[in-house]
Amino acid sequence: MMTAPQLSAPHERIRTGRMRHNAERWSWMFMRISGAILMLLIFTHLIVNLVLGEGVSQIDFAFVAGKWAAWYWQVADFLMLVLALIHGGNGMRLLINDYAHRTTTRKVLHSVLGVAVVAVIVLGSLVIWTFDPCPVDADPSLLPGFCASVAG
């Protein structure tokens, strides 16, 4: 007669990484919430940049500089940058978990991904927060209108 298979203790099978309490649940939640916020931000971005006003042809240095002169556009773009990168990075992390079966491969890929995400967030934030809309030696015809008063 066959004996019934033993019931193994829970968690025994999970070989990958430490068990962090609720970590995957928060990751899942973050993806839904950031996804919804991103939709809002991205569509606002697209409509303001490409549809309203003169459409695509309006985008030049002056247009971007004009937008970033306002703190709320800086905040909106910063939020879009951070959320998009963490959202995308987390998605990539899940894909790595799916396809990279060897622990070392997975660790290497996760580190590369982490470095890339942090680097882009840092560089992007620098651009947004240290942006100078009126560089000193620039051709005035390329600058936003309010630079004249700053220079003058």
Binding site: I14, D98, H101
Partner: protein, 255 residues
């Protein structure tokens, strides 16, 4: 069927036709033409009736043409769940799939279910699948002394988990899941269906133990709502919905 086709068939006779089965085969010991463990397609042309199912066609091949063809079946009536296989790239039970519903003019592709190691032809090793099921502790967990008579519950309480009691453990859902194909660590839809059946049973007290297991890295959060499982289930269980209910219980802390 058109009226003319019916008229040309004498009363009481089931129309018959030729059908080609293209079967994915593998013999661990090898054959005269194929090496040990080599996977290959083999075609069989057989005479079938409009009332025949894929399982009948496989029987015809095994009994009349090639006795070495290996597949599982037991009840032949959609109850035991032994004969889940990939038929024309969809997971189905061979005993519940009529040939005439599959366009018999074209060869019918039959493969073993994906994501589990093939042992021979259409037979796969189901152990990883059953291991996941055992991990969610599929038995009634209670505290206190057992009552003298049955543990009662209201029809509404029974209704709550009715859908997931229908599971016959055929593995059609789990082996249709793209996450399970790439990551064998994932419990798979069936284990979550099995857990759902107990988590939402008012008589059971082990809900949180099971939910804790499914809150794991290999648990419900791996589900990407592809709906392949719901489409594959021969019992019509709303698998994706059951998984979502487990996620909701974990997110809200309420059952």
């Amino acid at each position: 069927m058109t009226a003319t086709a019916e008229a040309s068939t004498p009363a009481g006779e089931v129309p018959s036709f030729e059908v080609t089965l293209r079967i994915r085969r593998m013999n661990p010991e090898g054959t005269s033409e194929h090496g040990a463990g080599e996977e290959y397609w083999e075609e069989f042309r057989i005479q079938a009736h409009a009332t025949d199912r894929v399982l009948d066609a496989l029987h015809k091949v095994k009994w009349d043409v090639d006795g070495s063809l290996a597949f599982r079946r037991s009840c032949a009536h959609g109850v035991c769940g032994s004969d889940a296989m990939r038929i024309n790239a969809r997971n189905r039970l061979a005993c519940k799939t009529l040939l005439k519903d599959l366009n018999p003019a074209k060869p019918i592709l039959i493969e073993p279910i994906k994501g589990l190691p093939v042992e021979k032809d259409l037979i796969v090793d189901m152990e990883p699948f059953f291991a996941s099921y055992r991990e969610i502790m599929p038995f009634l967990m209670t505290s206190g002394p057992a009552p003298e008579r049955e543990r009662l519950q209201t029809p509404a309480e029974r209704e709550r988990y009715d859908d997931t009691t229908k599971c016959i453990m055929c593995a059609a859902c789990t082996s249709a899941c793209p996450v399970f194909w790439t990551d064998g660590q994932f419990f798979g839809p069936q284990a979550i269906v099995g857990a759902h059946r107990f988590i939402f049973d008012s008589r059971d007290e082990g809900q949180w133990d099971r939910l804790e297991i499914l809150n794991d890295k290999a648990g419900v959060w791996k589900c990407r709502t592809a709906f392949n499982c719901t489409e594959a289930c021969p019992r019509g269980i709303e698998v994706t919905k059951a998984i979502s209910e487990v996620k909701k219980a974990l997110n809200t802390g309420e059952i």
